[in-house]
Amino acid sequence: MSADRNSSEWTNKGALPDMSVEIAGVTLKNPVMTASGTFGSGMEYSEFVDLNHLGAVVTKGVANVPWEGNPTPRVAEVYGGMLNAIGLQNPGIDVFIERDLAFLKQFDTKVIVNVCGHTEEEYLEVVERLADQPVDMLEINVSCPNVKQGAIQFGQDPKCLCDITEKIKRVAGQPVIMKLTPNVTDIAQMARAAEAGGADAISLINTLMGMKIDVEKRKFVLANKTGGLSGPAIKPVAVRMVWQAAQAVRIPVIGMGGIASAEDAVEFMLAGASAVAVGAMNFHDPYLTQKVVDGMEQYLIRHNISTARELTGAVL
C-alpha cells in the first residue's frame, strides 16, 4: 500500500505545477502572502499555519516609535465583511527588529515589512533602519484610512505619492512595494504615480473607508467613527482595481481584498496580479493561507497549467 502511494507520488512529481513567482527580483515559493495587519508578525498564526509554506509574510505596519493606536471599539462586523480602525498600533521598529523579525527569520519564507509613518521623515527613518536588516522587501503603507496624520494623505494625491516613493527608494535597502488605497477617483493614475516614483511593485487594495451606526443607541459603532472595510464584501471592487492598475503599469501588482478561497486568489491573478494576499478572512479561518496555496496548486493541475506565473493577466 505504502509502496503504491510512494510510486504514484513519484510519477506525479514531474507533473506538479511550478508555484513560484518573482516580484522585483525576489522569488517567492508561491504567490500567497498575508495582508498587512491581519497576521501580526506571524507569531499568532504560526500555531495554525506552517509559515514555511507561505510565499511571504507581510507584517503589520511598523513605525519609528511605538504607536498606541485608536480607542476601542476598534472593530465591527458588517455584512460580508468587517470594519476596523485599529490606528496602526505597533511596538516600534526597535522591538520589531529584535523580537518580530528575529521570530520570522526562523522560517523559510520571504519577509515583507509594512512601514507606516505620520510624516515623510518617519517613513524614511524606518526604511533606513531596515536597510541592513534581513528583510526581503518593504511595503509602504500610504493607504491606511484610520490615522489622522500621514498614511493615506500620501496615497491620495499622485504628486505626493510619486514624491514619497522617490524619497523612499533613495534610502531603501530592499525592493519597495507601494500599497495603494482604493479611496481615490482614478486608481490607474495612482498606480502610474508610484511607478513614476520608482516603486518596484504596487499592492492593492487597502481598506475602503466605511461607517456603521448602531440605530438603537444612535451611536457610531467604532470609537473612530469611520473605519476600513475589508472582507469578501470588497472583493469585486478590489478585482476591478487590480485589473485597472495592472493595465496602467509595467511593475508587478500584488492583489488583495476579500480573498476567501483559492478561486478568489486565482481571480486576482487573472486580473493582472503577480501575487496575492489573504487578509480579513484569516480571522474567519486561521488555516486559510495554507488552503489557498493548496487550492491554487490544485487549480493549476485541474486546468493543465504548468506555472502559477502564467495566470497573471490571463483573463480572456
Binding site: V75, Q89, V95, F283
Partner: protein, 264 residues
Amino acid sequence: MKRKTRMTVTSNRCLTDGIYSMTLQYPEGEAPDAVNPGQFAGIYTGNPAMLLPRPISICEWDPACRTLRFVFRVAGAGTAELAAMKEGSRTDMLGVLGNGYDLSALADRKVLLLGGGIGIPPMVGLAEALHDLPGTEVTAAMGYRDNNLFLTEELTACSRLLIATEDGSVGTSGNVLDAVRENAIEADVVCACGPMPMLRAVAGYAKEKGIPAYISLEERMACGVGACLGCVTRTREVDAHSHVRNARICTEGPVFRAEEVEIG
C-alpha cells in the same frame, strides 16, 4: 494549542428570557482541550455573511463527555443565529482562547465571586474548579435584572450563593456589592465578570478592602488570537507585548488584575 474544531451541538435551550445554554461536543476520537476557568471560545454562526466568530465565555466543561457548555445572551443577529442552532447540527469553534483565572492565586483563600448578568456563566466554571480545591471557601454573589434567574442550581451546588436583583424581586434589592455588604461577607480575594460599571465598583471595593481583584473584560473582537489588535484595554503600565499601554483582551486577558488596567 489553539485550533478551529467542527463541534456538534448536543443541546441548545433557552434558560430564561433571552439567555441560552448551548453544549458543544468535540468530534469522536478527538481529545477535548484543557480548559482554565475564565477562558472563552469563538463560535461561528454558520452564516457566511458573518465572518467573525462570537467570543463566548466557557461556563462548564466535561472532559469525560468531551463537551463545553456556553451560556450566552442573545444580543444581536449573531447570537440569535447561535440560539437557533438545532441539536445534532455542527458548528465551528475557535478555541480555547484567553488566559482564564489563576487558580494558584485563589487556592486556600476565602474567594468572593461576583457575576453580573451575562458575566455569571464563567463564574460557574470557576466556582466548580475552586470547590474542588481543599481549603478554598467560595461565596458567589450574582446580580440579575429581575426574577429571571439562571445557573443558580449549579452555583448552589458548589458555593454559598447570594442573589441580588435590580428590581428587588429576589434576594438583595440592588447590585452584587449590596448583597455582599448586606450579608457581611469578608473575603481574601475577589473575582468578577460583568458590565463595566460593576467592574469599576468591584475594583473600588477591592481597593478599599485591600484585597486583590481579578476582573474579566470584554470588547469587540475580530481574530480572537492576538493578531489584529482589535480588542485592547488600556493598561496602567506599558504592556510587555505591545510596548504601549494596551493589552490584548483575547490573549493577555480576558482576566486581568484590576490594578493593571485602566477601566475608569
